[in-house]
Symmetry: C2
Subunit: 120 residues, 2 copies
DNA sequence: CAAACACTAAAGCAATCGCTTAAGTATCGG
DNA sequence: CCGATACTTAAGCGATTGCTTTAGTGTTTG
């Protein structure tokens, strides 16, 4: 299978972790909070009703995904968003969408010309 | 539809399933394949090296997330992408990004005055 | 210094996940 | 009608996840 139709795939292991990180509601809530500006880990934990240990684990997942960046000064670790990570995710989604729309355009031509077999 | 209260948060359970669905490499590969056009479940399974049962389960997850739509005619179930699902995901990501950038603008003003967190 | 504070690291546990095998249920082809 | 095809359903299993508790480490603060 020469696969002229599937040129790109699995380009980044980054994407794996990004979507996995975003697949958890708690983590998304943390991201939404961080989009308002950087906060410390314990501040992040406050509205979540979880132990600090649990929140630290979530922060680790977010940091490994590249969506969040943290820095420790003194005894406080401050977390903030890393826009590049979001760009990667948005890019992947955009690619699927544009491929799909491209394909819809071609389908339009086929329908105009007459109907034929669509997949073989 | 608009809930009075917060700006927006956890608006849709849809998002949960979308990101969770996209968090799996096999499912993303299936989506990439589907972005080239609709295919049957067994056709989808072929390049994946999995049992048909496993692929059916993945298709179910994708369908429940709203990213994929399927239709069964005769004994064949055909799968295709559902652009609306991707729109929802892209929208969520875009919101976090724009909030963050908005916030960066304000930060620029603060930096003009000095450095440090504005927290307390 | 001693106590409070903000994490950090490790162990353990129930629930979920991704997968398999095995046994169905409808079509379709001859 | 009989067999192949294309799923469908259910059970089960090992790995991963999200959490907790417990016990640290390093940092302020009185």
């Amino acid at each position: 299978m020469g696969s002229a139709g599937g040129p790109m795939q699995g380009r980044k292991p980054e994407i794996e972790r990004i979507f996995r990180a975003l697949g958890d509601a708690t983590r998304r809530a943390m991201v939404e909070r961080l989009s308002e500006g950087p906060v410390s880990v314990s501040r992040l934990a406050e509205p979540l009703g979880l132990t600090l240990a649990a929140v630290v684990q979530h922060v680790q997942v977010l940091e490994e995904s590249g969506l969040v960046r943290t820095e420790k000064v003194g005894r406080v670790r401050t977390c903030g968003l890393e826009p590049a990570g979001f760009a990667a995710a948005a890019e992947w989604i955009g690619e699927q969408r544009s491929l799909w729309e491209m394909r819809l355009d071609r389908l339009g031509e086929l329908l105009a010309g007459g109907k034929g077999s669509e997949n073989k």
